[in-house]
């Protein structure tokens, strides 16, 4: 019941018909090849969102995505989401300007504020193509589309230093290998960032990710008007220190220790 349907080995010259629109049935050689090359590609060029998406799709089966689906099946909201398959798209939720008019303690406001600070808009995520069944494809799509809400509810900014601990949090919370591997981008952070992440954000990610309820079971679209603090309590989610505030404080400290140019004596001018 919990295992994927047994896939008969097939020749690439006679692939089985797609299980859902856009589906590309691939054999194990192809899946492995795509997984390795897309992981390498996304590490070298993180701006290739399509490679990151591909890496996620090819590394989540077997086992991990079915396990995430089971997590959804064992939760009432998760089951409802699987039945109705809601999608978070720029048109399925209220516009950012509308959300900004919500009370400031709501999830909707927090989400819109987060987008606004980053000068982002909710954008359409690429469809899932390399996952074998329609329901598993939906589970992965749901995760992909909810990612911005994970940012908003944890408060982590959409910069490299914020993405890395969030990925580790997602790995502890949802168990998808791609998220754990993406946290490996830790090595590309600057020294100060690495220190902060190692000391504060990674320990937070591990503990909070394990203790919090699986975020895949949150029906975000229905929680837009909920109080965000109350939602966090319901989920058992502890949030980390404000990263932007810490970064700003450090920048001020550095600036403070530099020579204050405005009080230095004026240099003798060669031109009078």
């Amino acid at each position: 019941m919990n295992r994927l349907p047994a896939r008969r080995p097939f020749s690439v010259l006679s692939r089985p018909p797609p299980s859902y629109p856009g589906h590309v049935p691939v054999n194990s050689f192809e899946k492995t090849f795509l997984a390795f090359t897309s992981l390498l590609g996304s590490f070298l060029n993180p701006r290739r969102g399509d490679l990151i998406a591909l890496a996620g799709e090819t590394t989540s089966t077997p086992y991990f995505l079915p396990r995430l689906r089971r997590t959804m099946l064992s939760h009432p909201t998760g089951r409802a989401i699987l039945r109705h398959r809601p999608e978070i798209t720029p048109t399925s939720i209220p516009a950012v300007s509308t959300l900004l008019s919500y009370p400031p303690t709501t999830l909707g406001y927090t989400y819109a504020r987060w987008l606004h600070t980053h000068n982002l808009s909710p954008f359409t995520r690429p469809p899932v193509r390399y996952v074998p069944t329609p329901e598993l494809a939906y589970v992965l799509l749901r995760y992909r589309q909810s990612h911005d809400f994970y940012h908003a509810i944890t408060g982590l900014p959409a910069i490299r230093e914020g993405e890395v601990p969030l990925k580790l949090f997602e790995f502890m919370n949802l168990g998808l290998p791609m998220t754990g591997l993406a946290a490996g981008s830790y090595v590309t952070l600057k020294k100060r960032e690495r220190e902060r992440v190692w000391d504060i954000y990674f320990p937070w990610a591990i503990r909070a990710g394990l203790e919090c309820e699986a975020l895949i079971n949150v029906w975000w679209e229905k929680e837009l008007e909920s109080d965000v603090g109350e939602l966090r309590r319901r989920l058992g989610l502890v949030i980390p220190p404000d990263m932007r505030a810490l970064r700003k404080a450090e920048r001020m400290r550095e600036r403070g220790s530099a020579v204050d140019v405005s009080t230095a004596p004026a240099p003798a001018s060669a031109i009078s």
């Binding site: 020749s11 690439v12 010259l13 590309v24 054999n27 050689f29 192809e30 090849f33 795509l34 090359t37 897309s38 590609g41 290739r48 399509d50 490679l51 591909l54 193509r129």
Partner: protein
Amino acid sequence: SSTEKTTHFGFQTVTESKKADKVAEVFSSVASSYDRMNDVMSAGIHRLWKDHFVRSLNPGRRPGGSPMNILDVAGGTGDIAFRILDHATKINHDTQTRVTCADINADMLREGERRSLVDTSYGGTDRISFIVQNAETLDAIPNNSVDLYTISFGVRNVTNIPTALKSAHRVLKPGGVFACLEFSKVRPAILDAIYQRYSFSVIPMMGQLVAGDRDSYQYLVESIKMFPSQEEFAKMVEEAGFMLPGKGFEELTFGVASIWKGVKSL
């Protein structure tokens, strides 16, 4: 209309009017990464094929002869056109032979024009011009005006090949040469088995990884499979009114690609 003729677009069946649009979409989407993909797909061998194709045609003025007016069809990015001009200039010391680069897709032509200016000395001169044309009609090209007609890796994308061959025949001068470089059938069967698996597995994956576009490359490999065999296409060239030298074709790299030639009778 419900009685419109259908044709193939890769393995799909579409109406003839739809095919031209779909092909245009494919090439707009691949235009900028086209050369990188060709290199990846053929391990750079496509450059050797094109070099041999042009060298064997020996374009350019013969001693005591006149400069050539050459038409390169479906040659958007200019690969063949530049080689032709280089050969005419450097080997035949002919600085007057000119090439018209025609393609149905404006994006590919734009890329060709850009390259002619950046990578060659012919850009902006009267030795090369770029024009949007459908290979089936070539309505801007007058009858009996072209010395050499080349089409390289383009004929398999044409909706109605016999019509394109007839247009080629129309625009060529009597005694003019038709030359086509295109993917063909690999022989022997064992090599073909490997080649097919490579085509249908590795190439679409490389399309996804390098260009972020699996579907266009899936179309490309399907269109290769749907193209007639060497002998069948040679027959089509003959039926369009050309005289074939020998059996009409020359295989390259075990038949992965072939060159067909025909002469319009005087």
